[in-house]
C-alpha cells in the first residue's frame, strides 16, 4: 500500500491551556475524498487550522507527502500546495471577485492563471458574472463558491474544505457537492472535507472519521459509517427518516 498524502499522528492542539485536540490520528491518501464529521465544538475546524499551521500542534506530527510540516509557517504550508476554504469563508470583502481569485493564485506560476480562471468560472459560472463585484457584497452561497474557487486557484494537491454547505439552500448544497465530486473524479484532486451535513458527506466520501471532543472515535468507509447505529443516532437523526 502506498504511503498517505497527508498523515496526522497524535496531534494535540491547545488554545491556551484548553486542549482542543487530544491526540488525533488520521490519514488521507492521494485521490481520496475523506470526510470528518462531529458535533459543534468537537474540534473539526481546529484540526483543519492545525494542518495549516495556525495554531501549530503542540504535540504530534503532521506529514504531507512525507515531509514534516508540523512546525513550518502557514505560508510555507500553503506553498507545499495545501489549500483551504476555511470556516467562515474568509474572503477579502472589499476586494472584487477577480482580485480575490488573483490572490488565490498568489503562489502559482502566472502562466497558469488564465487557464485556472477559466476552469473555476466554468465550475461556478455565477462568479464570472460577479467578477467585478466586491466579495463582501456577494450572497452567502456566492461567497462560499468564491472561497472554494480561490482555494482552487492555487493548484492544490490537497484541498481542505470546512463546511462548504453551511448556510446554503438545498439545491446549492447539491451543486457544491457535485462540484466536489467532479473535482475529485475528473482532476484526481484529494479532498479533506469537514461537514455538519453528515449524510451527504458520508455518501460522497470514500472514507470518513468521527471526531468527538477532540478525539477520533470511529472511522471507516463512508458506507460503513452511514450504517453504524451510533453514527446514525448522533449525526443522522432526522435526515435519514425522510430519505
Amino acid at each position: 500500500m502506498k504511503s498517505p498524502l497527508l498523515s496526522v499522528r497524535g496531534v494535540k492542539t491547545f488554545y491556551g491551556n484548553i486542549m482542543a485536540l487530544g491526540g488525533v490520528d488520521l490519514e488521507v491518501f492521494e485521490g481520496e475524498i475523506v470526510t470528518l464529521i462531529g458535533a459543534n465544538g468537537a474540534g473539526k475546524s481546529t484540526l483543519m487550522m492545525t494542518i495549516c499551521g495556525t495554531p501549530q500542534a503542540r504535540e504530534g506530527q503532521i506529514l504531507f507527502d512525507g515531509r514534516d510540516i508540523t512546525r513550518i509557517p502557514t505560508h510555507e504550508i500553503a506553498r507545499a500546495r495545501i489549500a483551504q476554504s476555511p470556516e467562515g469563508r474568509r474572503i477579502f470583502p472589499r476586494m472584487t471577485v477577480f482580485e480575490n481569485l488573483q490572490l488565490g493564485a498568489a503562489i502559482t506560476d502566472f502562466e497558469f492563471f488564465a487557464q485556472d480562471l477559466r476552469r473555476v468560472f466554468a465550475m461556478f459560472p455565477i462568479l464570472e458574472q460577479r467578477r467585478d463585484q466586491r466579495g463582501g457584497t456577494l450572497s452567502g452561497g456566492e461567497q462560499q463558491m468564491l472561497a472554494i474557487a480561490r482555494a482552487l486557484m492555487s493548484r492544490p494537491r490537497l484541498l481542505l474544505l470546512d463546511e462548504p454547505s453551511l448556510g446554503l439552500a438545498p439545491l446549492l448544497v447539491q451543486s457544491i457537492f457535485n462540484a466536489i465530486r467532479e473535482l475529485n473524479e475528473k482532476e484526481k484532486l484529494t479532498i479533506f472535507l469537514v461537514e455538519q451535513n453528515a449524510h451527504h458527506a458520508l455518501k460522497l466520501a470514500h472514507r470518513g472519521y468521527v471526531l468527538v471532543n477532540g478525539e477520533i472515535t470511529m472511522q471507516g468507509t463512508g458506507a460503513e459509517l452511514l450504517n453504524k447505529p451510533e453514527v446514525r443516532e448522533a449525526y443522522l437523526e432526522g435526515t435519514t427518516r425522510h430519505q
Binding site: C52, T54, P73, T74, H75, A78, R79, A83, Q84, P86, R90, I91, F92, P93, R94, M95, T96, F98, E99, Q102, L103, G104, A105, A106, I107, F110, F113, A114, L117, R118, F121, E128, Q129, R131, D132, R134, R150, S154
Partner: protein, 437 residues
C-alpha cells in the same frame, strides 16, 4: 423623487421639545458659572455676588437656538441621507467631477506658480500643502493599503530630514545624492520599527508606533553632539537648479537663463520639486497596487489569516509596507530640510503624525484623490483660520465630527478595484496577464 419625499416633513414640535430640554440643562449649568459673578470687595475682602442675567440669558438662548436647528435638521431627516435631497442631475455632476477632479487638481497645481508667481505667501502655502499630500500618500501605503495603524509616521520624516542635513553638511553631498540616501535610511528605520510590531495589530500597534515616534524625537533632542540637540541644525545647503545656485551672482540661475534675479525662482523650483516627488509617490502607489505586493497589502488589511493560508508571507508584506511608507516620508523629510535650511526636533512632534493620519483617514483610507483633497482642506483650512488661532481647533474638531457623521468612511470612500475588466464574456489572456504583471 416623489417617493423619497414624504419622510422629509419638518418636525417643529419635536425640535422645540429637544431645544427646551437643552436650554433647561444649559440654564442649570450656566446659572452659577455665568449667571453670577463673584468679587472680593473692600477691606473685609468678603465675596460679593453680582447677578449677570443678560449673559446667562444669552448663553441659554444660544443653546436653545442651536439645539433647535440641529434637532430640526435631524428629526426631519434632512441630513440623514444626503442622497435623498440631492437631485439626480447633481449627483451625476458630482460623479463627473469625481472622474476629472484628479486631472483638474493636477493641472491647477502645475499652473499655481504661473498664476501666483509674485505671491510668496501662497507659494509657500502650496508647498506646504503638497508636502502633506506626499506624506499622506506615503502613509497611505501603511495605513490605507496594508491596514497597519501607524501613529509615529513623523519619525521617518525626521529621519529623512536629519539624514539630508547631516549628509549634506558633513560630506557636502548634493541634494540629488542625499535624497535617495535619506529615503534608504528612512526605509531601514521603517524595517527596524516593523520587526518588533510584526505580531501587533490595531490599538497595540498604534501605541507602539506612537512610542517609536517619540523615541526618535527624544533621541534627536538628547544626542547633542550628533544632531545639535534642541538647537537643531542650521545652515543646511539650499537647493540648486541641478548645480546652478539660486543667487544673484554671475553663475546664478537668473544670470544663466538670462532672467532678472528674484527670490521667487527658488520657491517656484521648490514647488515643482515637491510636486514631482509627490507625483512619484502617487505613481508608485498606483503601480504597486496592481502588482502582487500591492494586492498582498490590501489582502493583509482585509484578513491576515486568509492571507497566510494563501501562501502570502505576511512578515515580508508588512515589512515592505513599513519600509516603502517610510521611504517616501524620508524623501519628504529631505525636501523639508533643504527648503527650511534649518531643522530641529520641534518640527517632528506627535501633532504632525496626527495631522498626516487625519489626512489619510478623512481622505478615505486608500483613495489617492481623497487624500489630496483632505490635505488641501486641512492644511489650507488651518492656514485660513490662522488669525483666529484660538478657534481653529474648534473648527477643526467640528469638521472632523461632520465628516464622521456624513462620510464615515472618508471623503472618497469608494475603493477603486485594481483591475477593471470591461468585456464580460471571454477572458482575454492579455488582460489577465497585464493584471498579473
Amino acid at each position: 423623487m416623489a417617493a423619497a419625499m414624504p419622510e422629509r416633513k419638518l418636525d417643529v414640535a419635536g425640535a422645540l421639545k429637544d431645544a427646551a430640554l437643552a436650554a433647561f440643562v444649559a440654564f442649570g449649568l450656566f446659572s452659577l458659572v455665568l449667571g453670577l459673578r463673584t468679587e472680593q470687595s473692600g477691606l473685609t475682602s468678603a465675596l460679593q455676588l453680582y447677578p449677570r442675567p443678560g449673559l446667562l440669558f444669552g448663553a441659554v438662548a444660544t443653546v436653545f437656538a442651536g439645539r433647535f436647528l440641529i434637532a430640526l435638521l435631524f428629526r426631519s431627516n434632512l441630513l440623514a441621507d444626503p442622497a435623498r435631497f440631492i437631485p439626480p442631475q447633481a449627483s451625476k455632476g458630482i460623479a463627473f467631477i469625481g472622474r476629472y477632479a484628479g486631472i483638474g487638481l493636477l493641472v491647477f497645481a502645475l499652473i499655481i506658480p504661473v498664476i501666483f508667481f509674485d505671491n510668496r505667501y501662497l507659494l509657500d502655502l502650496s508647498i506646504l500643502v503638497v508636502t502633506y499630500i506626499m506624506l499622506g500618500w506615503g502613509l497611505n501605503i501603511v495605513v490605507g493599503l496594508a491596514g497597519l495603524l501607524d501613529l509615529g509616521y513623523v519619525a521617518f520624516y525626521a529621519v529623512g530630514a536629519y539624514s539630508y542635513a547631516l549628509l549634506a553638511q558633513n560630506f557636502g553631498f548634493s541634494f540629488w545624492i542625499c535624497l535617495p540616501l535619506a529615503g534608504i535610511l528612512a526605509a531601514f528605520w521603517g524595517v527596524l520599527l516593523g520587526f518588533p510590531v510584526l505580531r501587533l495589530r490595531g490599538d497595540y500597534l498604534a501605541i507602539v508606533t506612537l512610542a517609536f515616534g517619540e523615541i526618535i524625537r527624544i533621541v534627536l533632542i538628547n544626542w547633542q553632539s550628533f544632531t545639535g540637540g534642541p538647537n537643531g541644525i542650521s545652515g543646511i545647503p539650499r537647493p540648486s537648479f541641478f548645480g546652478v545656485p539660486f543667487n544673484d551672482g554671475p553663475d546664478g540661475f537668473a544670470a544663466t537663463f538670462g532672467l532678472s534675479f528674484t527670490p521667487s525662482h527658488r520657491v517656484v523650483f521648490l514647488f515643482y520639486l515637491i510636486l514631482a516627488l509627490a507625483l512619484i509617490t502617487n505613481y508608485f502607489t498606483i503601480r504597486l497596487r496592481r502588482l502582487p505586493i500591492g494586492r498582498a497589502w490590501e489582502a493583509l488589511r482585509e484578513d491576515e489569516i486568509a492571507c497566510r493560508s494563501l501562501g502570502i508571507n505576511t512578515t515580508h508584506t508588512k515589512l515592505t509596507a513599513f519600509a516603502l511608507g517610510a521611504m517616501f516620508a524620508g524623501f519628504a523629510g529631505s525636501f523639508f530640510a533643504t527648503r527650511q535650511g534649518f531643522i530641529s526636533p520641534e518640527s517632528f512632534v506627535f501633532h504632525e503624525s496626527a495631522m498626516i493620519l487625519a489626512i489619510v483617514v478623512l481622505g478615505g483610507m486608500g483613495s489617492q484623490l481623497g487624500i489630496a483633497v483632505a490635505a488641501l482642506v486641512m492644511v489650507g483650512g488651518f492656514e485660513l483660520f490662522r488669525e483666529f488661532a484660538q478657534y481653529r481647533m474648534i473648527v477643526f474638531g467640528l469638521a472632523m465630527i461632520g465628516i464622521m457623521i456624513w462620510r464615515p468612511r472618508g471623503l472618497v470612500s469608494h475603493r477603486e478595484p485594481s483591475v477593471h475588466l470591461q468585456e464580460k464574456k471571454p477572458i482575454p489572456a492579455a488582460v489577465v496577464e497585464g493584471a498579473r504583471q
